[in-house]
Symmetry: C2
Subunit: 409 residues, 2 copies
């Protein structure tokens, strides 16, 4: 029996030819040569080398140390490159060329695959915002009056977006319990996660010119899982009146694999019904394709599943977020990344943060290694997800994982 | 009588050899070749060409289209390059070489001189924060409980930082008066300025490692005037609970000239007395050099001075802001820019925003061309500043200016 080819995938492999997410890798032999890779099954295809081997007109775009040139090339290039890649991994005649350019994922190092320009984080789950409002502002309405009129967002720190697998140092900062007279300084005692989906902008836009919802696919290349690590005690003390700052800026982890939007066509779904008509630039009731995405996320601490947040329940869609973010004329750059905001569904088990899952520490989670309210040093948080793909096959999203290491202070 | 050299400056010229700010310029002949320039009087010295002509070891660092390589080179290089530049423009033997590399400022185009990495904006004037608190939260305390414990800050949009002279398109967005049932959409009717000073980071820092106040000069290269344009109506409706977003992200203008910190040694001054001891990482009572800067800012609309904000009154210093911004382990990158926050002094005429000067539109300013509460289309806002320099000579800061053009919507 001949040795099996890495291209002979098990039926229903979520990283089959219907998926083909992009990443950037190095090999042990050449640790300084970053290369664009495409995941197929449990291997990485050296995309630039494949393009040269097969005489692709996109070879120069793919033989790059970063995804940014492809991101900047625009939607036609994205489509053509994807079509070519699909052929390379499926047409039998290409096998001899392709097989020798495949690296087992376990043998390579994966890097942050793009240079982040601006990072924006939204707050788009009604269930999450309601839970947070009840916890942080128990005396007021859970949702602020603006919440259902616009997708609330804020800028985060682009320079501390890190690739999955990067250790997260427990941040230190100021915190103050309501009863305390003055703040104290020290390592955060309420270190948390936020299960999110990050959308990656490819095509830039002009300063002064808004991007309409209908142009979403012209500008957004793809998405990945994102963990917006949050220090709740630091955040609670600092965030009035100008929003989260140090409670968030120490690290944001993203998956090394960027899934192209085109791989997720079968996952399109309608967002929840709106309570009232939205202003025209956000009104998606007449959009050609539904703006929601049926992504099923799983969050685990040290391998034990603690939540299964359903992305389909998000109130605001990514297209609405893009339209809102630019309606004031703000320009987009290649590499802009925007997070969906924490994904939480209506059920307790669907909440995408420990803040909500433990109700700010009141209700500890029971894990085999002990109780958890917030994260302890050594904890490893891993998020995975899948979406319905063509013909009932799942589309896997690359995992995002990170381990908490003790504060240096 | 021989023709006067551009290097023979009038006595007390605020852009004399004691100043030497950096910028990036192009000439009409070569509009695509960006070059590093140094301002001397009313001329720009082609710094790279001068370095090559005089055989400087820093020629490669200066013959660049951006300030970023010099920023990344670190404090020793900054000091050495400044020493060399001072010699080039003052030692008579260099005149023949230098004079032919000078361009009248009016003949060149000035560009954004660095690539902005992350942009952070602070809120460090007690007078400003008190005024804003009284206007926006009339029923609460003017200062939030955290204000005197930490320098409040938030991330802004790095991609919309523009160089002085760039037109500012009036942003559109949602606004809602308290009495209205629902928000309306349209061009902002409360377009405002914020007179600020922006600090530019050169030397990066490691993720997970805070930067202490005492290391401020190792990391921060220099400063410039900054106008953080603000749409107050958009901001008021959107900013609870996650802070300003579209009310700020449409444009932030900076001067084309970056003044090195070393030119401002004589302007060092002590910040206001603190109400109580600060936490150790912010306690600057024992710092070797005072953390404040005596910068005198002037704000004009269409040439008419409307305010003279004194930077020396800022409660929080730039060194404290840097220490706070990194105390959670957030890393710095070359090109990080942080704004001081609006500079407002105790007097009405010292307020750095129209929001404060007109008390949110209640008290119109009288200008020759009519009353102003907020900015009208066609208005040109110009900020200038100077600081005490060595031997009683002023150090000029490069102006930042911008014209409001009508909304495209």
């Amino acid at each position: 029996m001949p040795e099996q080819s890495p291209l002979d995938l098990a039926e229903g492999d979520p990283f089959g030819p219907h998926n083909l997410p992009y990443g950037v890798f190095t090999t042990a032999d050449e640790p300084d040569r970053r290369r664009l890779g495409v995941r197929i099954g449990s291997h990485v295809l050296d995309a630039g080398a494949a393009a040269y081997a097969l005489g692709s007109p996109y070879a120069a775009l793919l033989a790059q140390p970063s995804l940014n040139p492809l991101l900047a090339a625009g939607r036609t290039a994205w489509r053509d490159v994807r079509r070519a890649l699909t052929a390379w991994v499926t047409v039998p005649a290409h096998r001899p060329d392709i097989e020798q350019l495949l690296h087992p994922i376990g043998s390579v190092t994966l890097h942050l695959p793009y240079e982040v320009a601006d990072y924006v984080d939204f707050y788009a789950s009604e269930h999450h915002a309601t839970n947070v409002g009840r916890i942080f502002r128990p005396d007021g309405d859970a949702l602020t009056p603006n919440w259902k009129h616009l997708p609330i967002g804020y800028h985060g720190r682009a320079g501390t977006v890190v690739v999955s697998g990067t250790d997260v140092v427990r941040p230190s900062g100021q915190r103050k319990a309501p009863a305390d007279a003055a703040p104290v300084f020290g390592p955060s005692v309420k270190l948390d996660i936020e299960a999110e989906v990050g959308f990656l902008v490819g095509t830039p836009s002009e300063l002064g010119t808004p991007v309409a919802m209908g142009d979403f696919r012209e500008h957004v290349f793809g998405l990945s899982l994102l963990n917006d690590w949050s220090a709740r005690d630091i955040q609670a003390w600092e965030y009035v009146p100008l929003g989260p700052f140090l409670g968030k800026s120490f690290a944001t982890s993203v998956s090394p694999w960027v899934t192209p939007l085109e791989a997720l066509d079968a996952a399109r779904t309608s967002p929840p019904a709106r309570d009232f008509d939205l202003l025209p630039y956000l009104d998606d009731s007449a959009e050609e394709e539904p703006g929601g995405l049926d992504l099923r996320i799983t969050v685990a601490i040290n391998g034990h599943v603690i939540a299964e947040p359903p992305f389909a329940t998000m109130y605001w869609t990514a297209a609405q977020q893009l339209a809102h973010m630019t309606v004031n004329g703000a320009s987009l750059r290649t590499g802009d990344l925007f997070g969906s905001g924490t994904v939480s569904g209506p059920e307790v088990h669907q909440r995408g943060s420990l803040l909500e899952l433990t109700w700010n520490g009141r209700d500890a989670l029971e894990l085999p290694e002990g109780k958890r309210t917030f994260l302890e040093d050594g904890d490893v948080v891993t998020m995975t997800a899948w979406a319905p793909g063509p013909d009932g096959v799942r589309v896997g999203l690359g995992e995002v994982t990170g381990r908490i290491v003790p504060s240096a202070a």
